[in-house]
Amino acid sequence: MKVLVVDDSKAMRMIVTRSLRQIGLPDLVLEEAGTGMEAIKVVSDFSPDLILADWNMPGMTGYELLLELKSQGYVGKYGFITTEASDEMKSMATQAGANCFVTKPFTPEILTEALQGIL
């Protein structure tokens, strides 16, 4: 499974990738991006099955990234890992095509539960 982790914090990308390895997804291949623009470039080359993105990032938010990728025909799964967890944001994300929403801080168990529903 190819997973792209998008977060402007290198530390948080490290935590997410570490958690993904801990939960043991089969044939896991990871890529990272620090901005939405970088993520768009990675998607075209990497064709991820799943993107896990922060919401609140400088330049392009994770929500704007989702809209842009959908407009470009991205058909993989998309999840948010974010501190932004209001009902309004979850509703916006779902309507835009997001598949899961994980609130920071999270544990590998919480991430597993969120991903089990979509993979």
């Binding site: 490290m14 570490r18 801080p105």
Partner: protein, 160 residues
Amino acid sequence: MTEVLIPSDATIVEIAQEVWSSILEDAGELTSVFGFDEKHETAVLAFIEITGNWHGSVRISCSVQAAKHIAAGMFGKSEIDVEDDELSDAVGEFTNIIGGNIKALFPSPCNLSLPGVAGIGSFADNLPPGLEDKISEVQVVEVHLEWEGEPLSIGLWENK
């Protein structure tokens, strides 16, 4: 008008301890203390702004050693190997998560800014870069915590 309740000290401590233990490898215990000398030297200062139905900022200060512990725990490396940019990144993300969880306690809609990490000093002495325009904010909550004797304080400042 939406009624806004300020989170209690106990709630802020609970959030800090949950974030601490969830995101740091070998986190150790973050304990609540009654207070400490805010003039501790070489403190790392970080902040994040909340706007909307509540307007103010969450400000975190800690010793350099505590900041290195946060970075080491997030990056999964030893404290001695932590680079300056990793320290800033990790403390900023720590502040982002604390701020996001505090924001969730206020009635929607509220927005969260990106975190800022300002150099060395004390909020009691001066306002760091990025907070100069927050001179009118009033502190409404302050909690003091310690990890192995190293201080970490979290303040909630309201724009009145």
